[in-house]
């Protein structure tokens, strides 16, 4: 049985906490292990922060749609936005030393997503940009 959840908010920093709380609320219902919830929060936070900072840069921000599907041994996350395309591939290999010396910490967020999530996919089209990733875990 698949359980789907979705929340849509404006692409602004204030929405990040709402997304985090939404993840906690949904995962709690299904007794998802704490470390999985932590990873999910981190990945969603970083992905959405990138959309806010880069995707909707220079325009009145549009929406971010966060969806996830909870299955017994994995959670599939989908984040959709309608802003400009930013290149996740650029975030794959950050210069950690430079990033740590830089207040903005650019590139680390996406690097983290790729480190802690499985099966990452990024699709771009005029009809929306969709980042999809899966978090596999051993059911308790």
């Amino acid at each position: 049985m698949i359980n789907r959840f979705q929340i849509t908010r404006a692409a602004e920093l204030g929405s990040l906490e709402i997304f985090r709380n939404f993840i906690i609320e949904c995962c709690t219902k299904y007794s998802i292990p704490g470390e999985v919830v932590l990873d999910l929060k981190l990945a969603v936070d970083e992905a959405c922060a990138n959309i806010i900072e880069h995707g909707y840069k220079g325009m009145d921000p549009g929406s971010i749609i966060l969806s996830f599907w909870i299955e017994p041994d994995r959670i599939l996350v989908q984040i959709t936005d309608f802003g400009q395309v930013f290149e996740p591939v650029e975030g794959l290999k950050p210069d950690m030393e430079a990033a740590l010396n830089n207040d903005e910490m650019g590139g680390i967020g996406l690097y983290l997503i790729y480190r802690i999530m499985d099966n990452i996919d990024y699709q771009v089209s005029v009809e929306g940009n969709t980042l999809t990733f899966t978090k596999c875990f051993r059911a308790g």
């Binding site: 979705q6 929340i7 849509t8 908010r9 404006a10 692409a11 602004e12 325009m59 009145d60 921000p61 549009g62 929406s63 749609i65 959709t80 309608f82 802003g83 395309v85 290149e87 996740p88 591939v89 794959l92 790729y114 480190r115 999530m117 499985d118 099966n119 990452i120 996919d121 990024y122 699709q123 771009v124 089209s125 005029v126 009809e127 929306g128």
Partner: protein
């Protein structure tokens, strides 16, 4: 090492055929998006067959119009399709009675520059309800929904009758069924989404209820909601200085919409433009910038 990863940073949507599609193209690859310009280049009869799906049968039957022939019981044509060869627009309208200007349904779709589809206009109104002359100003000039000129006397009457800005008659409460038909039509055309610019605050809220998200302007809608709350700048500006800025108007979607139509967003240094909404076919975005709104 990175885990399994696939990145596609290029548009994955196949480029639609821009013109002169053959029937074989339409039946050859069902996933190839077809532009409206390409559809318009079809012969009249297949074009008519496809475009018939754009008008909900329920709406036509409510006015005794045959959904296949588009005629009323007296045999008069009541629906007009404009889908000219070479054009990237489709316009379809239905009217009640003998005057084609008395439209109760009007829909316009167009190709956009991003190979997507824009819903330029949709109107569904009750042709038997009272008409308000908000479309012409006192000099007889077109108001273009009050964006260029205004007819304050007629607007006030319309507001008191419960209409929203931009309406000349009450609606038919059929937006859901109309959106469903557009989605069906666009699915047939192999598009996954369509775009629109909401004319008014009320229309933005209605499209939210119908599953649209914002590609621009979600933040502004949140700001409007916030500033209309007691203590907010828009709430304070409902100071009774005009009939369109009465203190209680913050409580309803229409009340807010009339104040916005009257230019109240100036106080937060905003204008009602630049909003863009997107409906992904088969997906309800769940946006609700005015929770539990009273209309």
């Amino acid at each position: 090492m990175f885990k399994s990863m696939r990145v596609n940073s290029r548009a994955n949507k196949p480029k639609p055929a821009l013109e002169n599609p053959s029937i074989s193209q339409l039946i050859g690859d069902a996933n190839l998006p077809v532009t409206i310009k390409a559809l318009n280049s079809l012969p009249e009869n297949p074009k008519l067959r496809l475009c018939r799906t754009l008008i909900p049968i329920k709406i036509l039957s409510d006015f005794a119009i045959n959904p296949r022939t588009w005629k009323n019981p007296e045999g008069l044509l009541q629906v007009k399709l404009i889908a000219d060869n070479g054009s990237d627009h489709i316009k379809i309208s239905a009217w009640h009675g003998e005057n084609p200007g008395n439209e109760f349904f009007y829909l316009e779709l167009a190709d956009n520059v991003y190979n997507g589809i824009d819903l330029n206009f949709v109107l569904v109104s009750n042709p038997t309800s009272e008409r308000f002359g908000t479309d012409l100003d006192e000099q007889g000039r077109e108001t273009l929904f009050g964006t260029v000129h205004r007819n304050l006397v007629e607007e006030e009457k319309a507001m008191r009758a419960g209409l929203a800005p931009g309406q000349i008659r009450e609606g038919l409460h059929s937006s859901q069924i109309v959106i469903n038909h557009i989605e069906t039509f666009l699915t047939m055309m192999a598009h996954h989404a369509f775009f629109l610019e909401p004319l008014t605050y009320v229309s933005a809220l209605i499209f939210e209820k119908r599953g649209f998200a914002y590609s621009k302007g979600h933040h502004m809608m949140d700001s409007i909601q916030r500033e209309f709350q007691p203590g907010g700048e828009l709430n304070k500006a409902l100071d009774g200085s005009s009939v369109f800025r009465q203190p209680d108007q913050w409580k309803t979607a229409r009340g807010r919409a009339w104040a916005i139509h009257d230019g109240i967003l100036d106080v937060i240094d905003k204008k009602w433009d630049g909003l863009k909404m997107i409906k992904q076919v088969g997906r309800h975005a769940g946006v609700e910038t005015f929770p539990d709104a009273q209309y």
